[in-house]
């Protein structure tokens, strides 16, 4: 590539970077109002599924994410935990991601403090085990044998949160909050094999891939990305980090759309003039 073109390319790139940064910072700094919005159908399905469970039901929450995607998935995890506690459900949390435990422990303790719930009684974080799908298969036979102690080294055998729960078959709902294809693993080895309903909260990148599962009913509902988390906050009548990010998301998407349309209009003009193939 000629030197001039390279310099031009670098300059264009830097301008775009600055525009993207500005599109995200400015709405926060000027405290732009959050536009009103409705929750999407898929988020409603997740909410209704949790809402329909009787008090005391056990909900397995697989927290398959680490700080990479914390911005997208943490608001979802917090929303679902808050909903579970409000409905007096007992969340059983687990992860197969070795970088995740500290983050999940932090989320649990924050929400537990906020709701006045106690580890081991109102919820349990089982922790991490290596082996991915093997962990799900073992849990399908016995949760207590898979996790003899929880993340905080408490023995799980006589834990009130696990009373009456021997295996994954005994939970009322599997909720997977996932940044990658671990959600497929939970569908294949967990919900489909054991016939337990499953809802998923995933990064927006993963969401389009889950529509076949949603269509067949293998996944009962999806929360997709920050918008999915914002929808859930809306359904819980709250406005936390996800909802507060929606005006920024709107501005940033507007910028991207304008950039793409602008570049294409220029391209079409140049093609009409015979300057582009």
């Amino acid at each position: 590539m000629p030197a001039n073109d390279t310099q031009g390319l670098i300059r264009t790139r830097r301008i775009i970077y600055l525009l993207v940064a500005a599109a995200i910072i400015v709405p926060y700094v000027i405290q732009m109002p959050i536009p009103s919005f409705h929750a999407q159908e898929e988020a409603h399905k997740v909410y209704d599924r949790v809402e329909s469970l009787p008090a005391g039901s056990r909900v397995l929450i697989a927290m398959e994410f680490d700080p990479n995607c914390e911005a997208e998935l943490r608001p979802m995890a917090e929303g679902i935990l808050r909903h579970c506690f409000a409905r007096k459900l007992v969340p059983i949390l687990v992860t197969t991601n070795y970088i995740a435990p500290a983050l999940i422990s932090d989320i649990c303790q924050k929400i537990a403090k906020e709701t006045g719930t106690v580890s081991g009684k109102d919820w349990v974080f089982l922790g991490y085990r290596p082996g991915m799908a093997n962990v799900v298969i073992t849990m399908g036979e016995s949760i207590q044998r898979t996790f003899e102690t929880d993340n905080f080294s408490q023995t799980t055998r006589d834990m009130p949160a696990l009373a009456g729960v021997n295996s994954l078959k005994d939970v009322s709902l599997i909720t997977v909050i996932s940044l990658g294809d671990t959600v497929n693993m939970w569908i294949q080895y967990g919900s489909d094999r054991l016939k337990v309903p499953l809802v998923a909260g995933v990064t927006a990148v993963m969401a389009p891939d889950l529509y076949p599962y949603l269509n067949t009913g293998q996944v009962k509902g999806i929360l997709a990305g920050l918008r999915g988390a914002a929808d859930y906050e809306l359904l819980l009548h709250r406005s936390d980090d996800a909802a507060k990010g929606m005006q920024v998301q709107s501005v940033a998407h507007g910028l991207l759309i304008a950039l793409i349309i602008g570049a294409n209009v220029r391209f079409l003009f140049r093609r009409a003039q015979g300057k582009e193939a």
Partner: protein, 224 residues
Amino acid sequence: MWYKRTIPLILVFAIGVAAFVQEFVPAPWAGRFRENITLWFQIIGSFALFIGLYSLLHMHWTRIRRQTPGWAYSIFVFLAAGGMIAVGLYNEGKGPIIDVAQGTRTWLDRGYDYLIKPCTATIYSSMAFFMASAAFRTFRARNTAAVLMLVAALVVMFGRVPVSEVLGGWLGDPEMFSRITDVLMKYPNLAAKRAIMMGISLGAIAQSLRILLGVERSYMGGGD
């Protein structure tokens, strides 16, 4: 030699067939077999992580030893890894065997929050900038297929943010654009993703059969 290649091949076939068959056996022993063997694999899996750890450290050690360009940066890998392992083992004075009380903020937690979190989250978020720049420079409506892709991308980007409801409201139906996006996701997207999923699955099944039948042997590593 037979014990280096033949036995592992027999083992892979036998375990693979056992994995397949046990699922169709409703007897309690099948459940116990499943439970025990997967517990075994979890224990073996713990060792696997150390192979990854060693490989990475070995790579950086080799860079330092051979003084390849940029070798000095590798020292920071050892410093950070050593620091995290040291604070993890120190464990607020309780050592590696006993856990601190639940809710105690350890130095390992601080290392996680202030070293790992900002780095990993920022690296991933940087892709937004690359993506915006790449879209501006290369996303062109050159032919029908490209136009379809462009339109789908714009529809999703607009339909999934709340501002679309403001524009929809002016046009009489706040959820108009959200519904258009739903149609795109539930029909054409679903059809394509389903076909891709089936194609990938058929590929994975074929690969699994190749492994079980000993055609695919890359998992054995090099050597005789």
